[in-house]
Amino acid sequence: MTTPDASAGTLIERITAAKASLDFQGMIDLVPYARFLGLTAAMQGDELITTMRFGDHLIGNRSLPALHGGTLGALLESAAIYELLWRSETIVLPKTITLTIDFLRSGAPVDTHARGVVTRQGRRVTNVRMEAWQADRSAPVATAHAIFLVMRS
């Protein structure tokens, strides 16, 4: 775990610190489940790309083999949340209200990448579209859209 300021502060304070030092990975590593999935993130051009490194524990169908659909859903949801955390001025932990995933292709046992794009930023809710792909970005393995509550609790 490469967490900056891991010892102190709330999650929001620690995310803010990671953002200030442009430490994408530090932001992700704050969340145990993200480490379990093997998520990494990096800016590529002006896009924040989240990657789920392949591991045997992500397999849902041993005979194909193929990734578990739930791992793709979790990757897509995470990519959207990172996009919101990274782009917004003030950090508010987005709460997922609803998530809809279209599974387009079988997920091969390789690294999977995802990106979220905000389609509407409202005062209380934000709509995000996401896509996940492997070798060929023009042939996504799954797409999704989600609505997040972005009010301070």
Binding site: T10, L11, L30, V31, P32, Y33, A34, R35, F36, L37, D56, H57, L58, I59, G60, N61, R62, S63, L64, A66, L67, H68, G69, G70, T71, G73, A74, L75, E77, S78, L93, K95, T96, I97, T98, L99, T100, I101, D102, F103, L104, R105, S106
Partner: protein
Amino acid sequence: MADLDDDVKRKFANAAARFVPHNEALGIRIVDIVDGEAVFELPYDAKLVGNPDTGALHGGAITAMLDGCSGFAVFASMTERVPIATLDLRIDYLKAAEPGRSVFGRARCYKLTRNVAFTRAVAYQDNVDDVIAHAVGTFMLSTKQGKA
């Protein structure tokens, strides 16, 4: 499907369970599989936490459980085991799960056609009527290499 033997369906579903490493990684236990219905248990585990301040499980872990549980509800409604692939899944998150305790998933395949299965599922802790998350899904049947 009422004339089909539950033992047959349970056998198919349990056989299918051994082919899902990710369920094992999540620590999922299959609680019950009956005619067209599957109940999973996701035990609380620190590695699945989404918010370290509260200890609440990440929604992704619940998504993965409901996806798997819904798929098993489809298997539990078939007497001939054919491959399936999730077409789509919509999850509504009603509230956070209480940390430190298992989350259960109960899924039902409420319609099975020649090509497509339709499922509904809920995630809950104490009471199936006190819902944490609700999911609806569709599955393609008899897929080749996982393609719809």
